[in-house]
């Protein structure tokens, strides 16, 4: 009698364990959108592009205006899309003569990821970004929308941009803007003429 009860209980426990395991595995395979940066991107932007020359429109700040103004740049794109994104960011970091680049000197891009499904581009900058960034709400907004607007303007598949530093998400840059969420473009900061 006792043995029967024990066997039944062990059986029930086993069924419960297997069911729980299945539910756990299923839930892990369906991460919500907010966690998409935690998993390997479905699309890393590694498809081959046609090597035709393209014209990028880069937006930089000028001394006398609070709006970014366009500068055109022609180039032969690299064969990998992710490399094209990196090239644009390198052009932004390098700056232009007579224009203002709202990024501290010495800051570099470590890596980037693109998630095609949601149009999210994740930019991972070097630690210098937080160590050398001049504090101020305006300087933070200038940096954020310098990057986001340039990327989203030139590449329509990019819908939003998230910033990382040294591989880590950050809450704030210098004490103002919430950096936890991705940023959408805000074209109020640019003058397209």
């Amino acid at each position: 009698m006792n043995k029967k009860i024990i066997y039944s209980l062990v059986g029930l426990a086993l069924i419960f364990f297997i069911t729980s395991l299945l539910i756990f595995l299923k839930s892990n395979s369906e991460l919500p959108d907010g966690d998409e940066t935690l998993r390997p991107p479905a699309q890393t932007g590694e498809e081959i592009l046609q090597p035709d020359p393209i014209t990028l429109k880069l937006f930089f700040y000028t001394r006398g205006s609070r709006y970014m103004k366009p500068v055109t740049h022609e180039l032969v794109p690299p064969t990998i899309r992710a490399e094209l994104y990196r090239l644009l960011i390198d052009l932004l970091l390098a700056g232009r003569e007579n224009y203002i680049t709202p990024v501290p000197k010495g800051v570099g891009l470590r890596t980037l990821y693109f998630v095609e499904k949601s149009g999210l581009l994740v930019l991972d900058f070097s630690e210098e970004l937080v160590h050398t960034f001049p504090a101020g709400t305006s300087s933070e907004l200038e940096f954020i929308y310098f990057m986001v607007n340039n990327l989203c303007y030139n590449f329509k598949e990019i819908k939003k941009v998230k910033f990382l530093v040294a591989g880590n998400s950050m809450k704030i840059l210098t004490g103002h803007i919430n950096m936890e969420h991705p940023f959408y473009p805000d074209f109020r900061y640019i003058l397209d003429k």
Binding site: P134, A135, S139, E142, Y184, F187
Partner: protein, 390 residues
């Protein structure tokens, strides 16, 4: 022995009852200040008191159910443009304040604030319809929406009037967090604290409201702790003070921010619309559902309209002070504002990265003016808010 024990018990009970007898006399400080459209009279007691009042011609008689000690503060009342004289009398253990006005008047509203106990009258010139006898239901604290509460219920609860009695001032940065730095190494954290303290004094003395500060000295306080303090203390306004910095040295002028989906700066709106049209579908990104979801999850979402109005009032005052072209009220996802369960704004007073404005920011008299402008903006918002519900 048994009788002795009984007597001891009786004596103790009598002693306890004796201590409960109202044998104290009350001290009430009276103050007033003029504001656009009304004069506010505040009676601040060292304890709560029962009162009644009567409007008789040009006189307002406030009867207190206690003996009130004579106070020198009555003299200050006569500085008001509306008040002619104030007298205090005591008869049969009850006191009365008689406030005589220079012309006919009407009590627009009266209410009680706690901690400390204050009886407040807002009096307007002219014999219009008096609403003084409509005793308002003053909520001791605002309806703070609970996280689990459905949005619809939150909106319904917020239709009730919230009387502003506590304001949280947040001087930005502090401690090791210097904030923006000027070329002369003047730091943002010192300027924000100086302005915050000046603003506190003005609000307390002129509006008679309770002020809490997120920091009163050179301390590093996390952004989340700042807003948690305001939420826990049930502040009805949150004002974060900052000094700006930009990569562009020419950037100048004050800016007031709130958290919102929509910009209220017409120039920016027009520009955004133009750009969006030129860019086709890309301009519709701001309507993205998950952006709305982020904003919906913010505590601040419920207060965007009020925050926008508060920002507008403060920005207008700062524009006049700094003689700047309106840089406009702006929106941005400020971490310190997102979790505020009350109207909340962040003020960037001026640019430390601009040499001219840096010089101004090191002048204490200029900081007085800045605090006064912010105070005026807050006072106008309170007046606007009160009229909205009257």
């Amino acid at each position: 022995m048994k009788i002795f024990k009984t007597n001891i018990w009786l004596l103790s009970i009598l002693l306890v009852l004796f201590t409960q007898l109202p044998i104290h006399s009350l001290t009430i400080d009276v103050r007033s200040f003029d504001h656009q459209g009304f004069t506010r009279v505040v009676l601040e007691g060292d304890a709560s008191f029962k009162y009644d009042f009567q409007e008789l011609g040009k006189s307002l008689k406030i009867k207190i159910d206690d003996r009130v000690n004579p106070t020198d503060s009555l003299k200050n009342l006569e500085a008001s443009h509306l008040i002619e004289s104030v007298s205090q009398s005591t008869r049969k253990g009850k006191s009365e304040f008689d406030i005589r006005f220079k012309s006919s008047y009407s009590v627009q509203r009266h209410f009680v604030l706690e901690r400390p106990y204050r009886l407040v009258f807002d009096v307007a010139e002219g014999g219009g319809p008096s609403r003084g006898n409509q005793v308002e239901v003053v909520e001791e604290s605002p309806q703070v929406p609970e996280e689990e509460e459905p949005p619809q219920r939150q909106r319904e609860s917020r239709n009730k009037k919230v009387v502003i009695e506590t304001i949280c001032i947040d001087p930005g940065h502090g401690g090791n967090d210097l904030g923006a730095l000027g070329s002369t190494q003047v730091s943002e954290k010192d300027i924000t604290l100086a302005v915050g303290k000046k603003l506190r004094r003005m609000i307390e003395s002129k509006l008679g409201l309770r002020v809490i500060m997120t920091r009163e000295e050179d301390l590093e306080v996390s952004l989340d702790s700042r807003v948690a303090l305001a939420n826990n203390q049930k502040a009805q306004l949150f004002v974060s003070i900052h000094v700006n910095g930009s990569f562009r040295k020419s950037a100048r002028g004050p800016e007031t921010f709130f958290v919102s989906l929509q910009a209220t700066d017409p120039e920016s709106m027009a520009l955004a619309q133009k750009e969006n049209e030129a860019l086709g579908d890309i301009g519709e990104i701001a309507e993205n559902d998950d952006l709305k979801l982020i904003l919906w999850n913010m505590a601040q979402t419920e207060y965007i309209k009020e925050s926008s109005k508060l920002a507008e009032f403060i920005q207008n005052e700062l524009n006049v002070l700094l003689n700047t072209i309106n840089r406009g009220v702006k929106q941005a996802p400020f971490r310190v504002l997102m979790r505020a369960s009350m109207p909340a704004v962040l003020i960037e007073v001026a640019f430390l990265s601009n040499p001219r404005e840096e010089k101004k920011l090191t002048d204490d008299a200029f900081l007085d003016k800045v605090a006064n402008s912010i105070y005026n903006g807050i006072a106008k918002f309170i007046y606007y808010q009160n009229n909205l519900f009257n």
